[in-house]
């Protein structure tokens, strides 16, 4: 009987909860970043599971167009902080805007996309709200009246499930983990939360974005395929000599023809500091694994790369994995890849580039347009 009362109380408590879906406009300014729609989908699902009321909070110079894209989601309220001061990703202004929206919403649980813009402010906002924060969460669900979050620890080696008592609880959700909310654009009824920034919050000025030259753009988070190059590309080949120039041309041609995103092993990106031959377009930003990134592409193709555990870490969220290298006993053969081709990656990639080029000609356009 006591258990039933407790459960009833828990349900009543949950019914009175508020969930805030917090988002900022995309760089184009007329929509939200793609991951935001996934987080909105997760927020709606959780609000349905718990009976909590959903509020949307938006930040940007002008959020009208972005608000219309999610107006039909069924939120109780759409709160906004807008103005020129909130056009760019700056800690002081973004933290103030997020804090104002959280306070206005009075939310217990705040869900936000794990964009670079939000990742640099959410912990600070939690501190201001005397709440708590968890980042890089991959799923949320309500079980027996409590909200549980799943995330990875120790570079994707351990998956943990947690819950927290303190509220408000800010949670940033990773991309590729939830079904995005979709709906037709509609007119949005928004409530502007007035916010005047102190002078100290506008000292820093965002002057722009520095991107690689268009023909060196190798990181494409939205690509269908992650292509990982290992250090083998720069080592001596069958004729006893390295062929780095040929490797560069093959890899760039492949990226061009396939539209894949490029990843590299730590040993490869570190070679520039060890006076060894390097692939000139490979930087630390391309690095995947223990001290690099853990991308979330649907497919991955590894070449000339023999690492096992470091790459398993980097490839944890790659669904379909294939590898090409000359060692049939390498780490990839030990249950890490779906298919391991024992072959010379130089030869395979040259043939593959021809096939992709022919395919693109039939489509009359390359996979990726370069300037």
């Amino acid at each position: 009987m006591d258990g039933q009362v407790t459960l009833k109380e828990e349900i009543e408590t949950l019914m009175s909860q508020r969930i805030l879906f917090l988002a900022h406009v995309s760089e184009s300014g007329n929509t939200l970043p793609r991951v935001s729609y996934e987080v909105l989908g997760a927020a709606l699902k959780l609000s349905q599971q718990t009976g909590a009321r959903l509020t949307i909070g938006l930040i940007g110079a002008n959020v009208d167009a972005a608000a219309e894209t999610i107006a039909a989601a069924g939120a109780d309220r759409i709160l906004t902080v807008t103005g020129p001061n909130f056009a760019t990703a700056r800690y002081a202004s973004d933290a103030a805007a997020a804090e104002a929206l959280c306070r206005a919403a009075g939310a217990d649980l705040i869900l936000a996309p794990a964009t670079s813009r939000f990742m640099r402010v959410l912990a600070g906002v939690a501190h201001r709200l005397n709440g708590s924060v968890d980042t890089h969460v991959t799923s949320l669900e309500a079980i027996d009246g409590e909200v549980r979050a799943t995330r990875w620890y120790y570079r994707q080696r351990i998956e943990g499930v947690i819950r927290r008592d303190p509220r408000p609880w800010i949670v940033s959700l990773e991309s590729g983990c939830s079904t995005p909310w979709t709906g037709a654009p509609a007119k949005a009824q928004t409530e502007e939360i007035p916010l005047t920034l102190p002078e100290a919050a506008t000292r820093t000025v965002v002057t722009g974005v520095r991107a690689p030259k268009s023909d060196e753009q190798t990181i494409r988070p939205d690509a269908n395929l992650l292509f990982v190059a290992g250090a083998g590309w720069t080592k001596k080949q069958a004729d006893g000599k390295p062929h780095v120039d040929q490797a560069e041309a093959l890899i760039l041609d492949f990226l061009h023809a396939s539209g894949a995103s490029l990843g590299g092993s730590k040993s490869l990106v570190d070679q520039s500091g060890e006076s060894q031959s390097v692939l000139r377009f490979m930087t630390h930003l391309n690095q995947v694994g223990q001290t690099g990134s853990t991308p979330r592409h649907p497919r991955g193709l590894s070449t000339c790369c023999h690492g096992e555990e470091p790459h398993v870490v980097g490839w944890r969220f790659i669904n379909e994995r294939r590898a090409v290298n000359l060692d049939p006993n390498c780490g990839w053969a030990r249950g890490k890849a779906d298919v391991l081709y024992v072959a010379d990656a130089f030869e395979v990639l040259a043939k593959l580039n021809v096939l992709l080029s022919e395919r693109n000609q039939h489509k009359s356009e390359p996979a990726v347009e370069f300037a």
Binding site: R120, T204, T207, E320
Partner: protein
Amino acid sequence: MKPMQHRAAIAAAVLAGTIQAIPGLDRSRLLVFGGWESASRGAGATLQLVGERLGILDQFQGVDKLEVQTDGSLEVLERIEGGRHQVSVCPGPPALFGWATGHLPEPRNNPQVGMANMRTVMPALQRAKSVPLTAGGLYYLSASQPKQQRQTRVVKDLSADQIAHEIAEWMGK
């Protein structure tokens, strides 16, 4: 199931308190540098909390490059999506920087430099404060290692041409 306090918050409180206790520190001239994300959680939370506790509003995370301009201002490059960097100009201290990998290559292994650094690092570690981890409402409900083991098909007897065709077909699915 044991409740645990948010460790980033505890670490940040200790770090901020230690910085504040530095004798003669002019906080208006303070530049705080630290790692952006740890290898254990990669949460990117601790430095933000340190900055909040020190009242630093100019914070930068995922920093790969910092250059002092001729007028004394700081040009900061922060990582954003797509392998790009956001460029910001901060007029000067106080500011906080969560450092990523940087733009310089990893230095060559040099045991002599390492030993020289250890002479100051080890005594500092020995003086580190012990901090009690009090219960704070965080519960770890489960922790598990991924069990995924793939049935790898090892292909040894195909030509490069055949492999290319197979990969192209797979990519096109």
